[in-house]
Symmetry: D2
Subunit: 331 residues, 4 copies
């Protein structure tokens, strides 16, 4: 961490700050200039508050040098994390494809889609039982009934399940049925939920918030890991920008960045990012080409009558074609 002091900073203030930091076992090196002076801090600055130091009148600004996350940091954990999910794994050399309907609707629907996506090559079934919807008047998911249907689909196909938990009251319920608990973009900084996710024994799929920086995203992962759950899978799903042609802007550059600074696996969800099924195919290819560990894709047998997000769902036949085309990107 670097503290930039104003030129007018008094010796007294510098000493006061230095003393305070030394009390926290941090070493301070001074570089005195004519317009600014620089204090270089050596030691564990993870716990230091940038804002608090900036509240000194004589401090111009404080610059963080080290990432504020530790458990998620590749610097302290150089090998890739590989997450075990049932008989399969996410991360490492595996390319994982999670596919299924946005929301679970009927037994027939979810079992049919599960069989279709399995046949096409998907290794994990996705499906929403609890749905976060921007309107209180929209379909909010089947709840536990949906989880039961997912379980039947799992029994029918052997595919492990990923399903979203949207609140403290139901995360344990989801943990009971699902093999991976998804935390959605809008809950990425629902810290109470993250803490509870850290206490569960199931892997967590952590979607990036709509306007989360990569650092904030990894800090959210840190919350879960600090609670004791090391099995976090990141999922890039588009960020909010000024461009309105696609629903969000898929940030594929986040994939190599995550690979550089963290050891956690990262998959990509092109369905939610774009909101348009036509764009799922090219962006799936792009995601694997930049190095993602997998994909999360919405598949629905009857998009027009889907209770949620039909516009971004692939029909099983199109998904099958996509999986064939993805072959060359999977090695």
């Amino acid at each position: 961490m670097v503290i930039v002091m104003k030129a007018k900073a008094t010796r007294q203030t510098i000493n006061k700050i230095t003393k305070r930091l030394e009390d926290m076992s941090i070493t301070v090196h001074e570089t005195i200039g004519s317009n600014y002076s620089i204090l270089g801090l050596i030691g564990d600055t993870t716990m230091l508050s940038k804002e608090q130091l900036e509240s000194y009148d004589d401090v111009e600004k404080v610059i963080r040098v080290q990432h504020p996350f530790k458990l998620a940091n590749r610097l302290f954990h150089p090998e890739d994390t590989v997450v075990k999910v049932g008989d399969t794994t996410v991360g490492g050399d595996t390319v994982t494809v999670m596919a299924g309907p946005c929301s679970v609707e009927t037994e027939e629907q979810v079992i049919q889609i599960a069989m279709d996506v399995k046949e096409a090559g998907a290794t994990i079934l996705r499906g929403g039982a609890f749905k976060p919807r921007s309107s209180p008047y929209s379909f909010q998911g089947l709840g536990e009934e949906g989880l039961k249907l997912l379980k039947k689909a799992k029994e029918a196909t052997g595919l492990p399940i990923v399903s979203e938990a949207i609140c403290l009251d139901t995360i344990e319920l989801v943990a009971e049925y699902a093999d991976i608990i998804q935390i959605g973009a809008r809950n990425m900084q629902n810290f109470a939920l993250l803490k509870k996710a850290g206490l569960t024994k199931k892997p967590i799929l952590l979607k990036r918030g709509l306007s989360a920086t990569i650092e904030e995203w990894l800090m959210a992962a840190e919350y879960i890991m600090a609670g004791g759950n090391k099995d976090v899978i990141l999922c890039e799903r588009g960020i909010r920008t000024y461009e309105t042609y696609t629903r969000n802007t898929l940030d594929l550059s986040a994939v190599p960045v995550i690979k550089e600074i963290s050891h956690l696996p990262i998959i990509v969800d092109p369905s939610h990012a774009t909101g348009k099924w036509k764009m799922v195919s090219p962006l799936s290819k792009g995601a694997l080409a930049v190095g993602a560990d997998g994909l999360m894709i919405e598949v629905h047998n009857d998009p027009i009558n889907a209770l949620c997000d039909g516009g971004q769902s692939l029909k099983p036949s199109k998904f099958k074609k996509l999986m064939e085309e993805l072959g060359i990107y999977m090695n």
Copy 2:
């Protein structure tokens, strides 16, 4: 709502869509062009899913004409909502100033600040007991102990209390102690929390999400109102943009927009928006000048030692000076 059909759209599809909409008591008017055709929909389209209609191959795009919120919509509720809080009110002709520390730390601290801000003219005391922090290693608030201290400050000064609820498990606790329950920016789309807030009997201060559109923000208010709680106070606190000089970009234009399309009161929080105490004074004036119903300002007697967000807190003396300068904007 307007549905734009592709030129190649068949009569059959148009009839199918029309039939489906008529079954929902919506009237459809066709305008046939050479490159596109337009279906104009008349009736209550609040419940229609834009995405679902866009999943038809022959649909080019769907454009919402009416706002998707009803209870928060000025069109159906032309008079300003005035929220009663203890003996005071928020909205209407009143200009409200909520002030206090970011987080409650000690009895002495919170009572002293409460007395200071009251003397300077604030009418509501703010203070955090449960703190949403981006790092799991940061101070997370005193919890119920903090609420108890706020209550003592209320007893000492008579000021009503606003404090944040960050999860389902503690919102009832906050409702017990506080006069207004705050829902923070990061929880603006925590729909489970919004639903529960709709069932409480206390007014809700709903902060705008970091990247929430004005429409999404009002839809979040709609969630609360749909649950039966009509006392929602909106709070603009800065949005995330590419500009990094200030922590966020305070969107003061949101104030006249809200005034035009909604009847709910709106206040402004310049402390969190900028993260810099020096900017609180000019932006407070700006907020009242554009027509905000009030302000939320962080005040701390010892910013340098504050456990949270010291950098954006005013000292009581500076707050007092600001309140004097705000006089001309308060009429």
Copy 3:
């Protein structure tokens, strides 16, 4: 400037970088840590390229401490710049209102509006002769004919003129007729135009680019000043964000930031920022309340038939009313 070296950085590389910097009369102080080392640079780092230093493999990142602009920097020029325009001034204690039509259309139109805005209290007449339009099929302005009409309006009212120059070929022409040359948002980083503006003898009104950071904006001002023209007036006109309810998001927090780090005057254009005449009045008040040195407002006697941007123009009667209401913000 601070250079963060990776832990694996060799003594050799550090020495090489240090040598290179010392050759440029920069002093280097080392702070050696376990995960990173920090080089603190003292001296004039304005000319150093952050990117070039970052191309060393052993460099983690380079952080600029000092602003890269000098002539526009309040640090080296503490007093406010006051720009003389005809008999009036911009900046300092004056509040300037520039008003007039988006584009000059006819002699009758521009003279009538000029008389109206003068009567209402405007001190400078704005009007476009060369119009930057996003479509090649839109009206592109009257060109020199428009400048001649502006001159007639100046003769009729005594108001100095501000008009936009959109290219190298016509900036001298604009300089001949106008008292202030405007450089538009889309040309804020048209460096060839900025250089030429630096050679003219007329004050320059420099609009902020749609996605320009405050630092980039001041660097654009630096281009003009480095050419010898110190009379730069900044104009905040809204930035591009994800919010689409208003055309752009007016960044009023830029006003106190500019006041802190630069000595140049800054005015605000609420008409272009919002694109809606209804929002011009509240945001004009907000702009003066946060400390702007003035406003730029579009006024048109017949907005519905305006050849450009009618939707954001005030009618003269509404402008008059606004000017009366602005009285209390002008002292």
Copy 4:
């Protein structure tokens, strides 16, 4: 185009608007609702101004249904445009790789790099002679001397040249030496330059502006094409978002969008988008996987001493390795 009228809109106003539109050969269909009425417009609405129509008091909003560009619109030109450049082509079935130094520095440098990139498989040489730099104190390029060196490199290798024109005064000079004229991101809405580019006989490489929507970008292409020059190559180079880890956010979803709505070829520049050479390789693969017609990559034999943008340049050996890895994406 759809005009949404307020409920209170009078018959008189609707008739007035309808009359005005019919005078422009546009047919108007009315759909009357209780809260809003809708006017559906049929005919060529390209020339209509959305803003002007929105200036009527009784108009709620105006929604554009058709894209405002015509010449760049795939609707009216279904086949892919293939641009001829010397003996090679851009677009169609070809995958083009343009490579070379950010700026031309010396004869030795540019010839050596040209030979290296040719050997590795690049088909076009890039190199800047006129450089747009955010600081007036940075190296601004060698000017015509740089163009002469590029010509020598072309003579030595046979590679056609792409180089940037930054102003009206030098675009003809660039046209004389280069085979493709580049218009940079910061000049994307320098309409005077676009018009002049429309009059040259050389293909134009049009970079996307830092905060340009896809529609604005295609409107910039429309400016060039409307001037008579149909040979426009689009180049995605990252957009400005809140994320600061990479310099800009590469918007790879723009590639399939452009492919859907336009017939122009599109290439991708990962070097400028990220500003980090380490990310060039994965994003190059991603760009080809999503369907781009090619890449533009910075290669420098001595990045550390490059006069510009060294941090994002690949060394020739790394570029060669990348080209080998790109093989599977090129078919």
